[in-house]
């Protein structure tokens, strides 16, 4: 299994950046709870999407579609405002890369 870092929490504040240090060998990995996911994605900022898109080896469109579906499920039963803001940020990030943007928006259309 491989993991891509999309942020960290320090002193109760969430940052959408690489963590200051990597986790140590044998540190345990746990899936986020719904509450964790809601807190991480509900900051009003979408900087972590940039980290997902930065790695050309990742299937960004599919990852984003799965992520958006999971995040929508924890945002008060499918918060369309959250969805619109996320799509707006994605368009802003990818507007100079037409094929990638259309792949991402096409995958997100499947979510709806």
């Amino acid at each position: 299994m491989s993991v891509v870092f999309v942020g960290y929490e320090q002193n109760g504040k969430i940052f959408h950046l690489f963590p200051p240090r990597p986790p140590l060998t044998l540190d345990s990995i746990q899936p986020c709870s719904d509450a964790d996911l809601a807190r991480f994605t509900g900051t009003g900022q979408f900087g972590y999407l940039r980290l997902l898109l930065a790695d050309p080896m990742l299937p960004a469109a599919e990852l984003l579609a799965v992520h958006v579906r999971a995040a929508l499920a924890v945002h008060s039963g499918g918060d369309s405002e959250w969805h619109d803001r996320a799509v707006t940020v994605l368009i802003a990030m990818l507007k100079d890369d037409y094929p990638q943007l259309m792949a991402v928006l096409g995958a997100l259309s499947e979510v709806n």
């Binding site: 369309s80 619109d84 799509v87 802003a92 507007k95 100079d96 037409y98 259309m102 259309s109």
Partner: protein
């Protein structure tokens, strides 16, 4: 009535400057629907201590990438996503011919105003354009006050209303005192209203008794 006056003096922002120059005209990125602006409309650009006055000469549809303008791009998207994509990738540019500028100074309430006013004892007046507004200067449709600043107000003595602006119906006047001091000509293509404008001007001159009117030549076309 006063409230109406105040309302008509509030400028409506329509976009911001993205480029251009004195010779090539200024380019404004519209952030209102294209249909809210028309060719020939008067605009005001606020940039620092200066106001710039100009005329809309062209409207152009643009897109970040020609593929975003293709209708086929939007077929596979949900209507909402398609709208979000259109908002960020398709736009309208306005071409503005800058004509006049006016130094308005710092805000009336700001501490810098007293110093500026001491250095500029005369009331500012519109000057021929000699410089340009900065990038991202906000562009407005001219308010009734702006149009009156340039063309004069119909309430002033000697000013005669010859028409109204296209979008907002602000009165456009002419100073008859100045008008009669020099020769004037009215030019335009067939059907653009030369005879109509001539008739209005002659009616104004006669009403204000500013000059003797002598009609020669193809007078039969001007029905007074």
């Amino acid at each position: 009535m006063e409230q109406d006056q105040e309302k008509s003096d509030i400028r409506q922002a329509i976009g911001y400057i993205i480029g251009g120059g004195l010779k090539a005209n200024l380019f404004v990125r519209l952030d209102v629907p294209a249909q809210s602006v028309q060719e020939g409309g008067f605009v005001v650009i606020e940039s620092g201590d200066w106001l710039f006055y100009g005329l809309v000469t062209d409207l152009q549809l643009g897109s970040l990438d020609p593929r975003y303008a293709e209708e086929i791009t939007y077929r596979q998207l949900s209507p909402k996503t398609a709208d979000l994509l259109r908002k960020q990738t398709l736009f309208t540019n306005l071409e503005v011919l800058p004509a006049l500028m006016l130094e308005r100074g710092p805000d009336l309430g700001s501490p810098a105003y007293a110093g500026w006013r001491a250095a500029h004892t005369e009331d500012p007046r519109p000057l021929p354009i000699k410089t340009i507004p900065s990038h991202h200067a906000v562009t407005f449709l001219a308010s009734a006050g702006d149009v009156a600043e340039i063309f004069g107000s119909p309430d002033q003595d000697g000013y005669f209303e010859i028409g109204k602006t296209r979008e907002q119906n602000h009165p456009v006047c002419i100073d008859l005192e100045k008008f009669v001091q020099r020769s004037s000509g009215i030019f335009g293509a067939t059907g653009t209203g030369k005879s109509f404008l001539t008739r209005i001007l002659l009616a104004g001159l006669i009403q204000y008794n500013k000059a003797s009117v002598l009609v020669l030549g193809h007078a039969q076309r001007v029905r007074l």
